[in-house]
Subunit: 348 residues, 4 copies
């Protein structure tokens, strides 16, 4: 099968580089376009990028001459690592020109006709894409993956929600430096320090949760009636977001019930067969002091979420801690898996 030609929009940043690293040897996709800001257009990717992945940059990708973020027709699918403000302009242009935009940006996540997807959780929401094309008159389209912390939390929460119905949720996050991109957070703000604030993050986590766990009804997603309170923290680690949660359910589960639901969690057969889908999506830890950021972030090639410390909660019903790789399960890996779902579902 010839590989599908794809573009990476915003290819020099932290998420952009992760896209390049993940797609370098992808069985279904072939990078044919890399976009960057105006001052870098016309230069070779390898000469421009300050490559920070630990795998080497393949020479054939280093040679690609960078373009502006405009549809050239070369790519049938575009991965977007753009900032939200830029994405708001660029992504519709690609969709209008017939490309499928698989976006990591927040620009359209909460738009009613844009599927916000975690394949194991709500692959059925992909049906919104048909509405989107009809309403907007696009031959392409936009699909989005959630914010990094949300992706990790909701992967862990989905099987519990299905089985017991989440009602209220109090979440504390401990997020890595790479979640802010590069250059991102100054080292003087993170060495020997914690910052209890990330602009807009608490609101995103709450509202994306309701959409992701919502129910597809005909052409709309009805938000899940979940009240969520989020307290974010940036901590001095390189990669890996941890989320600790206290959850109140409609039906109170025992710890054993919860563990069983977490362990049994699988995507649909279609989803489980995608090249980037981890098996299992959730790894359950029984050791008291796990998950730990550095030790567990790379499980399932960075796509698995590790859940541990499942225990009763005096305020809600259960507490647990989940951990995942913010640049993989929480960003570029999530988008690649979404793109694979588009292919498997016949959209691309």
């Amino acid at each position: 099968m010839p590989r599908l030609p794809v573009a990476i929009l915003g290819a020099t940043g932290a998420v952009g580089q992760k896209f390049v690293a993940l797609l370098a040897e992808h069985p279904w996709f072939e990078i044919v376009q890399l976009s960057a800001s105006a001052d870098r257009v016309g230069r070779r990717y390898g000469d421009v990028v300050r490559w920070r992945e630990t795998t080497p940059l393949p020479p054939e990708l280093a040679r690609i001459v960078m373009t502006e973020a405009v549809p050239t027709g070369a790519a049938r699918l575009a991965f977007s690592a753009l900032d939200a403000a830029v994405a708001r302009e660029v992504e519709p242009a690609f969709a209008r020109a017939g490309a499928l935009v698989v976006s990591n940006a927040s620009a359209f996540r909460m738009a009613a006709d844009v599927p916000l997807l975690i394949p194991e959780v709500n692959a059925d929401h992909l049906a919104l894409l048909d509405t989107q094309r009809r309403v907007r008159g696009w031959s392409g389209g936009i699909i989005a993956n959630p914010n990094c912390s949300t992706a990790i939390l909701i992967t862990a929460l989905a099987p519990l929600h299905r089985a017991f119905g989440v009602r209220r949720l109090t979440v504390a996050t401990l997020q890595a430096a790479s979640g802010a991109g590069y250059p991102g957070v100054p080292s003087l703000d993170l060495l020997d320090n914690v910052i209890p604030w990330i602009g807009g993050e608490e609101e995103k986590l709450a509202e994306e949760t309701r959409k992701l766990l919502g129910t597809l009804e005909e052409t709309v997603v009805r938000a899940a009636p979940i009240t969520a309170s989020v307290m974010v923290h940036r901590v001095p680690v390189t990669d890996g977001h941890m989320v600790s949660a206290s959850v109140e359910f409609q039906t109170a589960p025992s710890v054993d019930d919860a563990l069983q639901a977490l362990r049994a969690f699988r995507g649909s057969e279609r989803v489980a067969g995608l090249p980037t889908s981890p098996l299992p999506p959730i790894e359950v830890e029984m050791r008291d002091d796990r998950p730990q950021t550095r030790l567990d972030r790379d499980r399932g090639m960075g796509m698995a979420v590790t859940v541990g410390r499942v225990r009763p909660c005096p305020v809600g019903h259960l507490r647990f801690t989940a951990l995942g790789h913010n640049l993989v399960r929480g960003a570029a890996g999530a988008a690649v898996q979404n793109a694979e779902l588009l292919v498997a579902a016949g959209y691309a």
Copy 2:
């Protein structure tokens, strides 16, 4: 006024060294006894201690010959930095021999007749000491300060509890390496890592909260009816514990009400006049990204608690983040302030 002769029990550990540093120039107390484990007895403190405070060890203290942790009669008051298991034996021996034991250990914190004190919060609980002496037949006695995270949380929570009545509480902690003492946590467990577990800490925080905010009724403290859910994390910082809380009250306060209560918080006149009492005990931060661990832990000489990010909570009524120095407000400084209260109240 001649200074009161005091002992430090467990003088070589992290909290023990902090005691020595804080008492080196104290106007009311004079160190006359330093105890250590058996293999160090008979040697000079300066030759034995692996001094890690950044202020120099005063030569006259370096010359003190270490003793076992037994009452010699030299000290009228003993600061205990002992492990809980050792404290359970040693502290009653001192109390029986007529010394006042001001303990940082957890051994007797929850005993019904032992005052668990934060002077600005519940100085009246000191009256338990009379009961304790009567019941146990001691001429001395034991008083305790809370666990490090509890001290920081409750300093912040007390004015809100007084004004609005705390009902339910969900707390996430982000605790420093020094909270585990020295050698404590291996560097391989904390560099680029977070550990969501500290043995026994979640239970301590919940039960000490109820005692500290409880009501003195004749000779007993009636626990405050607060349901608390705690999720602890050890993060890679040297000093300074952060706690983020979601709180439900009996009477819902506005953010402005809460800020006013926090800003107005003071200890009694007696407490405010103690040498170690910070003024004010709570520093309120309005900057979005504060408190931060490294920047705010030394406020008020390490005795002030900085509270920021006071904002509404979708699940409870309010969220906030508090930060304090775990070895000062959370341990040695708290004990010194407690000892000062004993003196000011005429017990010593």
Copy 3:
């Protein structure tokens, strides 16, 4: 004595803030002017600065309205925390207008008629200021302190050079994040990482060493004939630069000879009496594992250099490790001490 009115040029950066913190309660100087980049001019310092010092910003300084970096006549002395490129224009303008510029910038450090000073080391070089005024026709003038690593190395090396004559020098530095200012180094470049490169630093260290240890001959400084090889590294610490050196001397000293020279090192009587001069300037450590960055950087209020691990060297004669606070002894503190020397010597 009325305090001398002073300006701080570049007052919002890391070194600028350190100037404000050090001068806030200075007995000889009073801040009357604070300059910043054009977009901040006309606004109050407290509203503009992202204050990151751990001591609070005094309200009377917070109220100062910021100016451009131009001489207004209000300040008789100006502390410069400007970038080299800006300093090249601004500092001569102040000197021409009659102000004494005490600069932390590298712009004029190596100019033949600009004194490059560490008061304990080469206070006599201050005489270059007379030449400078005569040659340039300035009523004010410029004096400079060395680069941060150089200041720490040369404080340690000066007594050894005086006694035994340094011939060859191989130096490795381990430098803190704050040496690069704020925002400076991205956290993704320093968490769990070392960078063996700082642009221009190795050259500065070598050439400033020769000037600082050079000999004043009439109106010029003859550079010391020292061959220096420097290997710099940025390491993940907040503050504190460490330098390890292998030294070959003209006269081979024993370790004891060297320790004695280090311990006996003092500035002149005039220098030792300056408010900012630490006593002693060098603290000698005999413990195997010291100096350590976090434990020793604040000695002598950040102005003392700690020297340890003095031992024979198979390639040169001696090896040692020196440590100091890069923002105090290595930048703002050094400039304040230089300004005090100007006053004591009758220039201001």
Copy 4:
């Protein structure tokens, strides 16, 4: 080909776990014995080990029942991750019993008849094994890999020594926490800190350098006449040792000469064909700010050494910085490669 049955001595520590991880899927070796300290003997490895590798522990290895460190006959080859003191007793016992001991311990590294090997550098030294067997009357034998920093330095230095003859060497190391094993260095000693001391390390690096670069003459290795001065530092990184060197040669090379020698460096054909040998063994970096610890330590699966910043040296002839993974190229990986060499050379 049936896989050779091997033992891992000291299997629960940091290096021991790395052995297990590296050998889990090794094409030539099969783990049949795991030894640990007395209190763990008789229990299953998976129940005893505090597994800290990021790859999962294979279930079939988790089931192995641990033995004392005594030869049972089951293993024909034993990897030793023992402490030096224990190794001094145990390793000869295995060698006497006919096993080949491939040791990471320092116990016998400098023994005249023990090959100290880096396969790309001095595979010919393996011939010492014949002498060893003859002299000691062993049917097995002991071979050793160097200390972690030495392995990284000498891999980089070997091609330069071959081409230009190293005469004098001044080296600064910046070593990771994992070099001290687990629990190793307390986090309070490494967070926001540097320690300029590691017991015995400076001496090891100097003397092992002379042996590794020495010349095999009949049955002895004549040490290379290299004067080496080493200054070690422990820095707050998890894995990866950096060494920066100033080198004086017999024949002064240009930077280009040196780069060419580094790039052309290969092991013998036999060595290059070993499963664990990286290709190339040295990766040359031309970017100013590389190598960096976190970004480059995993090159060549942790077996490649990255060399950068090759530049002239005012004191010697050249300066450079080399970086490698201390637990792979510097410990377990080195031993596995040595064992492979034994097999390829017909000893096992």
